[in-house]
Assembly symmetry: C2
Homo-oligomer: 147 residues x 2
């Protein structure tokens, strides 16, 4: 695992409200598939429905805020190769983490799984050929042609 | 506000355990003042005691996990000038956010405050002359001379 973060996803209750907040602070993004993506330096900040983010991370939305400790934020690490997804999920388990959602193909064309670190912080591990990773590991969002 | 994140801080129950987990995945960091800092591309990932992080963000540690929605992660935005801290906290309030901890001098020599976005996601806004911000907004940790 290289020492980098590809995306920070914030689970939100109202996508429009959340987007307006960040836009009021000067951010500009694109909405695709009910997700708002902002380029933020060498990574992306994204806004996605909190329930969908919980479910995608292996949590029941209703239970997510309780003892299980779903905090509504998921970090993502994008790999350079598909095989690294399974390798990293296994390594995280061996290191004391927990796979909360097994690796699977996404309907959006990428392959990913999610692990929790020992404190329950969530990392999606994803191989997404649609998002460019530079040599230095920085991620550049595509132009989705969306506003 | 420029479109970037300077630090992602994970609140942890056991700093040594958390550090060992990330080191087992290949990360290398430095521990300073009971905080472990990892350079992660153009930003820093840091590990800090969850109770201290809660308190520093304006939450009571005991109550933090309940209805208030303290998820144990705080994003940070480092400003280029001290005056931007107050300006951005005010802008966040006007935009529908909430200042959870008013701006104040830190014992570590920086000036910061914390706001919550409309979904409760926390951002520390900090002016920290000890952390270098490049022209492009990327942050480079100093060599603390620590291991």
């Amino acid at each position: 695992m290289e020492q980098r973060i590809s995306l920070v996803t914030l689970g939100v209750g109202d996508l429009g409200r959340a987007r307006r907040f960040y836009e009021a602070l000067g951010w500009r993004g694109q909405e695709v598939e009910e997700t708002v993506f902002f380029q933020a330096g060498g990574l992306a900040l994204s806004l996605w429905g909190r329930d969908k983010l919980a479910r995608d991370s292996g949590f029941e939305p209703r239970a997510a805020d309780a003892a299980e400790g779903f905090g509504g934020i998921v970090l993502a690490y994008n790999t350079r190769a598909r095989s690294e997804v399974d390798e990293l999920l296994s390594a995280a388990e061996r290191a004391g983490g927990r796979v909360t959602r097994a690796a699977a193909e996404s309907v959006y064309g990428f392959y990913s799984g999610v692990f929790a670190d020992p404190d329950g912080h969530l990392w999606e591990v994803a191989h997404n050929p649609g998002f460019t990773l530079a040599e230095d590991g920085s991620l550049t969002l595509p132009d989705f042609g969306a506003s």
